[in-house]
Subunit: 368 residues, 2 copies
């Protein structure tokens, strides 16, 4: 599936196919993302600084804080949706946003551990417009620093030494297990010709939904919320994660390269069995059948790497004609609606509810 | 450094150069190792069974429970020193041995996570007389299943939901961070011509000492021990780990291939900068200098892979002549003595103290 990319301070306009039913909250969301970054990044950097050399340097490169030559860099650290959610999660439980910071940092560490390992497993050479860690520092450092970030995530929580931290660590561990399950499914699907829509949704729920769900509850847990409140926030995050991934899958095919920083038809070039593809293949009818024949032939083709723009455009058109694009856009809207509906299951300050709603809207209208 | 290998039910006779000063506790130790295995293996297998396919199968192969074709196998699961220590650790705190079982399982999961990743990073093709996971199932599965075992280790502890489990998880996380630091040092030393004895000891303390130290305290923490008791047991385990590794380093050069299951001069063939080598190089004198010249030339030699038995034997003889073998044997005895001395810092049932002493003796007299 497409990975999380983005830059700081982006403005948001709802020009995405999934965005018909949601309002525009540009200012709110930019401020929320900025707050998440401002509160969590110093703690994240301090945690990463604890790593022994050369792991601290390799990690700093991965986070975009230095370049491949070790010079300070103002790199692209991603959209920072998860830290923003973790802080709101603390506020949803009536605690200060700051109570969620260790959770925000732990979730970011796990997210980046998984990026380091997934990029190596998948052979991906680019991430956030830069060479990936295994390309620059070698496979061993990608494995080792990934491991170190994972360990650091647990350390950041458990060193708090509170019962709440233990509960937070337990939830993070469950989410990490699902994240790993999702990656295992993603790898196994690559070797299969057909993947069902249900399998794809299950994989995306594990690979993207679980950690976003954890981000949405971990701040509340650290802020003293009971399990029911945390479970509701987790459910919100799970559906938000599915909406997020559906939009990612749309952007992976039809995203504007200038916005996404990826090639045109990016997921098609990588033969990804993303939601629009599996939905189109499952739809039946002439376009679906023609698409199936083409993709089967592509899987065996030795010319695939030299395909022209037109050949990818033809596949994208068939996916759209078979209904895969519209189905995925609907899926994003459906999951977005469920996420917001679920939030009503728990009492929280109305300002926080509005902010969680605004973030959910942002996730489905974003263009990168 | 040499890795942990061994088989079940081994009998122990003190014919090792490090064994002059310790008594023989054959029967005791065999029973202790067997108890550790009997109590922890079913829980370990149940934990591994929770992994989603194909990770459960890959992990079962790694643990030796099935062969590469998936057929049940009565493989070599290692000496199981860590589980035995974790159970004794619980008893040292006045709890039942069973209280230590989740700790034993968590430590084994972390140990095996590190083996999966280290074998891939180091390019090691054999482990416990079998092809390593990355050789059989590919690098991606080695990374993924290693990650899954690490997550499972935290899960096994944190799902207990007690304050003691949170403290145990925190100690395990610290140990895992050190383990990763040690692997980072080991990798960086491979690229250097000279490593000091102090650097080698620090690396071995991280790579072997930290997790053995955790095994020796985690049962006590789960059994309700205070931090001081846990710290003393951890210190015992740290020194025991250094003794263990010193013996491993001796066996890696002078071990009997029939006992160790490795080639003759195993660590010399892999150009490992183990304790006997760095101690010999640091010693000075004609043999030390001649050894330094040979190893420098070996590092650049294109014929190294076709070296004869005699060429390795000549290097081993120089290490011995320069005093590297005797220094390492002394180091094993010294760390063994400190481990046992440290134990007097805490009250515990005398039977448990005797068993911890017997296990320490076993570690330095073992031949595999």
């Amino acid at each position: 599936m497409s990975s999380t990319t983005g830059t700081r301070g982006e403005s948001v306009t709802p020009a995405n196919p999934a965005s018909d039913t949601v309002a525009d909250h540009t200012t709110d969301v930019t401020a929320l993302l900025e707050r998440g970054r401002a509160l969590s990044t110093p703690v994240l950097r301090a945690a990463v600084d604890r790593l022994a050399p050369p792991m601290d340097t390799v990690a700093a490169y991965h986070f975009g804080w230095i370049d491949a030559q070790g010079r300070p860099s103002d790199g692209d650290g991603g959209k920072a949706v998860r830290p923003a959610l973790a802080l709101l999660s603390a506020e949803a439980a009536g605690a200060a946003a700051e109570a969620g910071v260790p959770g925000a940092v732990a979730v970011e560490l796990v997210h980046n551990f998984s990026l380091l390992h997934d990029d190596l497993m998948d052979g991906d050479e680019q991430r956030r417009h830069r060479d990936t860690v295994w390309k620059v520092h070698g496979p061993a450092q990608a494995i080792l620093v990934g491991d170190a970030l994972f360990a650091l995530a647990n350390e950041v929580l458990l060193e708090l030494g509170t019962p709440e931290a233990g509960r937070a660590a337990r939830r993070l561990t469950s989410a990490t297990r699902k994240l790993i399950d999702g990656q295992a499914q993603d790898i196994s699907y690559e070797h299969r010709e057909r993947v069902t829509v249900e399998e794809c949704l299950e994989m995306e729920g594990n690979k993207t939904g679980a950690l976003l769900a954890c981000a949405c509850s971990i701040g509340a847990v650290l802020g003293g919320a009971d399990d029911r409140t945390a479970d509701v926030l987790e459910a919100y995050g799970h559906h938000l994660g599915l909406a997020f991934q559906a939009v990612d899958d749309l952007l992976g095919i039809w995203g504007d390269p200038e916005s996404t920083g990826k090639q045109t038809w990016s997921d098609l070039r990588q033969r990804k069995k993303s939601l629009p593809v599996v939905a189109a293949l499952a739809a039946g009818g002439p376009a679906s059948e023609r698409l199936g024949e083409l993709l089967s032939a592509d899987a065996k083709s030795s010319d695939f790497d030299s395909f022209s723009e037109e050949e990818f455009a033809a596949r994208a058109a068939l996916i759209e004609e078979a209904g895969g694009r519209e189905w995925t856009a609907q899926e994003a809207r459906r999951q977005h609606a469920v996420a917001i509906e679920v939030l009503h299951g728990v009492d929280m300050p109305e300002t926080v509810r509005a902010q969680l709603t605004a973030l959910a809207d942002f996730v489905v209208v974003r263009k990168r």
